[in-house]
Symmetry: C2
Subunit: 347 residues, 2 copies
Amino acid sequence: MQETYHKKNIGLNNSSSPVDENGKNCLHSFRDLSRLFEKRFNVSHFPKEPEKLYDAAQHLLTAGGKRIRPVMCLMGNEMFEEIKEDAYYVAVAIELFHNFTLIHDDIMDKAPLRRGMETVHTKYGESTALLAGDVMLVTGYESLQKVHIDYLPRVLSLFNKTAKEVCEGQQLDMDFEKTPDVSFDDYVKMITLKTSVALAASLQLGAILGGAGKGNQEHLYEFGKNLGIAFQVQDDYLDAFGDPEKFGKKQGGDIMANKKTFLLLQAMKVLSAGQQKELNRILSIKDESKIQPVLDIYKSCDIDQWAKELKHKYFSIAMDHLEETAVVSSRKKPLEELALFLIERDM
Amino acid sequence: MQETYHKKNIGLNNSSSPVDENGKNCLHSFRDLSRLFEKRFNVSHFPKEPEKLYDAAQHLLTAGGKRIRPVMCLMGNEMFEEIKEDAYYVAVAIELFHNFTLIHDDIMDKAPLRRGMETVHTKYGESTALLAGDVMLVTGYESLQKVHIDYLPRVLSLFNKTAKEVCEGQQLDMDFEKTPDVSFDDYVKMITLKTSVALAASLQLGAILGGAGKGNQEHLYEFGKNLGIAFQVQDDYLDAFGDPEKFGKKQGGDIMANKKTFLLLQAMKVLSAGQQKELNRILSIKDESKIQPVLDIYKSCDIDQWAKELKHKYFSIAMDHLEETAVVSSRKKPLEELALFLIERDM
C-alpha cells in the first residue's frame, strides 16, 4: 500500500483521551493512537555517527507518513487489553521495517520523490541508501528485542515470516513487469504479499500482545489482509476513474506507466483477441494521448463496475472476519472506523 | 575480512572425532567444526518461490566460503560446554548475515566476481540482488529465533549491535575513499567495525550459549577483535610484499585501486611534504607501472617493518586476552590453532 491515502481528515474522533460522548471510557481513535505513536516515534532512532549513514536513515522518517501499520498494531492490542509498552516497541519495529522497504523499493524503482521529498538514494547516493535501509531494518529488530520474553518468540516468528513475504511480493511485482500474461490469482497473491500481509501482521502482532486467542488472531489477520486487497483494488480504480482533485493524483498514472493493475488484467481477460491487440497497440503509445482511449475500452466492457464489485467483495470478507472476532462490538469500533476511512463508500 | 585466506590446509587436526593422539577426549579442530557446520548449512535455506529471488540468494551460498565466523561461534561454545543445538542456529544466522553483507557490498563496489563466480547482482541484476540480501538477513533472524528463550534476548542484543556496527564500518570505508587524510585511529576504527567485530561477536555469542561468565565473554570478544585487526594489517602487508604465488593474489592490487591501507596511511604520516606530493603523483598514474615505485617508497621508510610490528602488536593483545580467559589451557587449543593459522608466523 503506497502513500496514496486521500487527503481527508484521518481521525474520526477528535478527542485526545478515550472517553465517548457520554463520558464513558472507550477505545482510542485512529487519531489518538497516531498521536500516541508519534510521541514515541519522533525521537532519534540512530547514533550520531557515521553522520552520512544515519542522516540518510533519518531523512525518510522525518518526512512523516500515515503510520497506518503501527496504529493497527496498537489497535490490535487495545481490542483485548490496555495498550502495553511492548505494543509500542513492536509498532516502532513495524514502522522502521516499512521505511526500510520504502528506501530499498525506491532504489529499485529509481524513484526521485517520496512523500514530496527527494528519495534517500537521490539525496545521499545509492550505496548509502542501501546501507541506510539495512541499518533501519536492524534498528527495527533492536526495538523488537525489547519485547517481554513471554511474547518475544511469537512476535519474532510472525515478524520474520511477514518480512520475508514482503520481499517476495516485491520480487513478484518486478517479475510481473516482464511477464506478458499475469493471472488474476497471481496478481492477488503479489498484492497480498507486497502490501496486505504487513497490515494483517500488524494487527495480529498487537493481538498477540493483548493476549488474544488463536482464533481471534486469525480473524484479525484475515481482516487486515482482505482490507489491504480491497484498498489496492480501490487504488487501481481511483487511478483510472477517480476525481483527480479529490484523489490528489493525476488521472491515468498507471496507464501512462504501463503498470499491471486489477483493471488491465481484467480487461485482457474479457476482451476478444482483436480487442486485446488494439489495447496493446494503444498502451505502446508513449504520451498522454493514450489515457482516454484506454479508459474508453475499460468502460466499454464495464471494468469500472467490475472493480467496484471486486472491492466490495474483499471489503465484505474483511468485515465478516471482524464480525467473527469474539469481543464485544464496542471494541471493534476503531477498526470499523479505520476500514471505512480507508475504503471510500461512494466508489 | 574478505575472502583472501591463503590456500593452505585450514584444518590442523585431521581426525573427524574429538579424540587426541592418546585417545583422550579433546575439543574439535577447525576442520572438524567446519565439517559439522557444513552439514547443517548445506541445506536449502529458502522456499522455492519466487524462483528468481531465492535462486539469487542461494547462488552465493553455493559458492562456499571458509565459514570462519560460524566456526568461531561453535568454538566459543565448546570452550565452556558441549556444543548445543542453539550454537548451530546462531552459527547459521552469522553465516547468513555475512553473506548478506557480501551481496550488498558487491552491489556498492560494483564487483563482478566473488569466490571465483559471478556476483549476485551481475548474474541476477541489482534489484534482485538487493532483495536477495534483504531476504537473507531476515532468514538469518529466522534462525536466531529458534534459540532457547534463556539465551534469546542476549543473543539478539549482541547480534543486532554487531549488525549495526558492520553497516557503520561499510559506510566509513566508503566515506574514507573520499577523505584525503584519514588518521590511523579512524582507519583502525573502520576496520574494527567492518570486519573485526563480527569475529569478536561470533566468539562471544558462542560463549554466551556455553554459559561463560561476563569476564570470559569480554576476553574472547577482545581476542576476536584484535585478531581481526592483526589479520587486516597482514592482509594489507601481503598485498604489497607477499609472495603472489603463495598469497594467491596479484601483488599491488591495493596500490592499483588507490585503496587506503595501513601501509599508505603510515607512509603519508612519515613522509615529508615533498615526498607525500611525489607519492600522490605516482598514485594518480592509472597503469601497473605505479606499483614498483610505490613499493620502493614504502621500503625506503621501512613501512614493511612497521607493518610487521603492528601486526605482532595486535596479535599479542589478542593472545593476551585468550591467556586471560579463565578456562584450562587445553580448552584454548582450537582458538590458538585458529589464530596461528590466520596469522602467518613468517611474515
